[in-house]
């Protein structure tokens, strides 16, 4: 197995964009791959952070398997890029390294934000697309299914996925969701138009929030944003009314002064009658007076508060990393041993077949000499012969399995061929 590709590690976003595949392009590329490299399995993984082409070949197709340059040429030709432009940017991993890389990617340990959950779904989609377009085979089936299993192990046996590290994700997952059980009946008020507000809103909308009010000093700008975010715009002078009915507030104005002072909030608080309020103040300088956070039922978080939580999560994640890497190593070792062991299949079959024929001959001769033996006795004799063959074959088969852990046991296979006069 081999992987050729590029990722956010060392490749510019400009080049990644040129090499990226849309869903339709990926299907077209896989179709073309089948025609250019017949019999060679392929899975194409294309996300905003990486473009990777996994390929594998077994048996007769092995001779047609492309090397790094050929894969680079295929990618360049598809995107109409000069091969030399991408030649240095692409990495190539083969055999166990390729499998380890796939497992690392699927487990989100190679992602820009380690532990982000989207990559597993993207790997699944890439594998499904390749399967639907008939580009997968025994090796890629085994490798991708093992990768999904490995990713699930990492997710269940470590906390690496549960620790968010971006400010909006921490704000929603570690704080907002700990205050509110559901968001579909909550009123979200957005002040300003910062990028982080948009990302936070996306997280909230993913969790069901749909009642969104946008407040901006410019009503036109508020109306534009409200349309984009499927909410309603409110004039700046109605801010107090909006805050009085809000459950969550995301604030990112560029104001140089405090937008909501403690005194102003006192009036708003009376109108709220003690309802819990989650305020995410992402503005610098802050939009809300920090003293507001001391009021009962008000949970006020600034960028600094969330940065501290992000750092703590990042440290927790780092602590989990060795355990996750151990799982990757275990699963890679297990997969490669299985793969190498499969290469010994023909030898094992020949060994079994070679012993089967003399067994049957000797058994027939013995039973002929014992005509008085009843069916039960004959059955016992047959079983004894089978047990004997199993015991005789066990040491060489076990040796093959043991040797397969390190690679294809070619020397041992040659020795067995000579010892037992087996033919390819």
């Amino acid at each position: 197995m081999q992987v050729v590709g590029c990722s956010h590690h060392g490749t510019s976003i400009a080049l990644r964009e040129r090499l990226a595949f849309s869903g339709e392009q990926a299907a077209e590329a896989l179709d073309r791959w089948r025609r250019v490299f017949p019999g060679v399995e392929a899975v194409l993984l294309s996300t905003c952070n990486r473009v990777e082409l996994y390929s594998a070949a077994a048996g007769a197709a092995e001779a047609a398997a492309p090397d790094r340059q050929q894969v680079a040429g295929f990618l360049a030709q598809f995107h109409r890029i000069e091969p030399r432009e991408i030649a240095d940017a692409l990495y190539c991993h083969r055999h166990a390294e390729a499998v380890r890389h796939l497992f690392t990617v699927a487990s989100s340990l190679d992602s820009m934000v380690v532990g982000e959950p989207q990559i597993l779904a993207q790997v699944k989609q890439a594998y499904d697309l390749a399967t639907r377009s008939d580009n997968t085979g025994p090796i890629t089936h085994a490798a991708f299914q093992a990768a999904l299993k490995c990713a699930r192990r990492v997710a269940s046996e470590t906390a690496i996925h549960r620790r968010r590290v971006s400010i909006p994700s921490v704000a929603v997952a570690d704080f907002a969701k700990q205050i509110f059980e559901r968001f579909d009946d909550k009123h979200v008020v957005v002040l300003g138009a910062g990028e982080m507000a948009e990302e936070t809103l996306r997280y909230l909308q993913d969790d069901g929030a749909h009642q969104v009010t946008v407040v901006n000093r410019s009503y036109e700008r508020a109306a534009q944003l409200a349309e984009a975010w499927r909410g309603q715009a409110v004039a700046w002078d109605q801010l107090a009314e909006a805050l009085a009915t809000a459950d969550l507030v995301v604030s990112t104005t560029g104001s140089a002064e405090t937008v909501v002072t403690r005194e102003a909030f006192a009036g708003i608080e009376r109108a709220r009658h003690g309802r819990p309020l989650f305020i995410l103040d992402l503005a610098v300088p802050r939009d809300f007076d920090p003293a507001i956070g001391e009021r009962p039922g008000v949970y006020l978080y600034s960028v600094d508060d969330l940065l501290a939580a992000c750092e703590q999560n990042r440290a927790e994640r780092d602590r989990e990393l060795p355990a996750a890497l151990r799982i990757i190593e275990q699963e890679t070792g297990r997969f490669m041993a299985e793969l190498y062991h499969q290469a010994t299949g023909p030898i094992i079959q020949q060994l079994l077949a070679g012993w089967q024929k003399p067994k049957e001959e000797e058994l027939a001769r013995l039973l002929n000499r014992l005509p008085g033996l009843d069916a039960k006795g004959q059955d016992e004799v047959r079983r004894a012969f089978d047990r004997l063959i199993n015991k005789l074959l066990h040491p060489p088969l076990q040796s093959l399995r043991d040797e397969s852990r390190e690679g294809i046991p070619s020397r041992l296979m040659d020795a067995l061929r000579k010892l037992f006069q087996l033919k390819d």
């Binding site: 192990r153 046996e157 704080f175 700990q178 059980e181 559901r182 501290a308």
Partner: protein
């Protein structure tokens, strides 16, 4: 085979489930959730078998003794725990509920009396209603208490802007406030049913020519104060919609737990007609189906002896001529 099931069997299972729950804070494991559920469920099966065995072999069971009462309360709490764990496997409910379960079993085993009481058919139905209602009120107050503690812990963490501690995930404040509010209302309803059925039982006793339980009995007094407190709490919180109750209800349920603890302690430790420490077991044995439930519940004012004929049993503080009706 059921006779071989001892209290220590299910208590140990719950203790292991609790230790596994605590271990969430120390290390991660892919099989721990299944193990926790397995140990808690195995404990519940053994617990059920134990109570069933007692119910079959002990006249008057269930609720035939103080110990039964504590064990049934623990059984209900474990059922609540398993239900919550099944639907919210990542939440750390066990950290708050399992200690209460173990405490109930511990008190039942070490402090509560296990002798069953003789039956008294005339009041059987009212006795069962009384005991069951008080039992459910107690379990509900305990659930509310656990939810209240979780609420305050979660609220404190969120106010201090700390991310969730390793291995400890609690439900949202909104969920906890809702459970808290409902627990308060259900506790009041159950307690009202318990007290009213206790009054009926008292009337039956009076018709039988027996004395009423004095209102100043520590258990009766604590129970009535608790009922008044819960009614006031419900009245206070009814002024606000559920999403505005939050900390108020959490504190109210904590205070309710204190009243419950006082009532239970009074029943176990003081000389009260509800089965105080100095009370004669033989007299208690005569109470029948009415008092086992009521006495064990510890909140009723039904006196500790009862018989429709009204002639054979002692009133506390008076000389008596008792025929033991204890059924082992």
């Amino acid at each position: 085979m059921l006779a071989g099931v001892q209290i220590i069997c299910f208590a140990a299972s719950y203790a292991v489930a609790f230790i596994l729950e605590v271990s969430r804070m120390v290390f991660r494991s892919g099989v721990r959730g299944a193990l926790m559920l397995g140990f808690a469920a195995a404990g519940l099966v053994a617990h059920t078998a134990y109570l069933y065995h007692r119910a079959v072999n002990t006249p008057g069971s269930p609720l035939s003794s103080e110990q039964d009462w504590y064990l049934i309360a623990a059984w209900l709490l474990v059922a609540v725990y398993l239900y919550l764990m099944w639907y919210h496997p990542r939440q750390s409910f066990g950290l708050f509920l399992l200690p209460l379960v173990l405490a109930l079993i511990g008190v039942g085993k070490l402090l509560a009396r296990s002798e069953p009481f003789a039956r008294e058919p005339a009041s059987r139905v009212w006795g069962l209603i009384h005991g069951t209602a008080i039992l459910l009120a107690t379990v509900t107050v305990l659930v509310g208490f656990a939810a209240g503690v979780m609420y305050l812990h979660q609220d404190r963490r969120l106010k201090r802007k700390l991310p969730p501690p390793r291995g400890v995930r609690l439900p949202s404040l909104e969920w906890l406030a809702r459970v808290n509010g409902r627990a308060l209302v259900v506790a009041v309803l159950m307690l009202v049913v318990g007290v009213v059925s206790g009054v009926v039982l008292s009337a039956l006793r009076r018709a039988g020519g027996l004395d009423l339980l004095p209102w100043h009995d520590p258990v009766v007094f604590a129970t009535l104060v608790m009922l008044l407190w819960l009614l006031s709490a419900v009245a206070i919180t009814a002024r606000y919609p559920i999403q505005r109750q939050g900390r108020k209800v959490a504190y109210l349920t904590l205070v309710s737990f204190v009243f419950l603890a006082v009532a239970l302690a009074a029943m176990l430790l003081l000389d009260t007609a509800h089965g105080g420490k100095n009370q004669d077991n033989t007299a208690r044995a005569a109470v029948g189906w009415v008092v086992p439930a009521a006495k064990a519940a510890g909140f009723t004012h039904v006196i500790a002896e009862s018989d429709c004929s009204g002639s054979r049993f002692r009133v506390p503080g008076r000389p008596h001529n008792v025929h033991s009706h204890t059924e082992a």
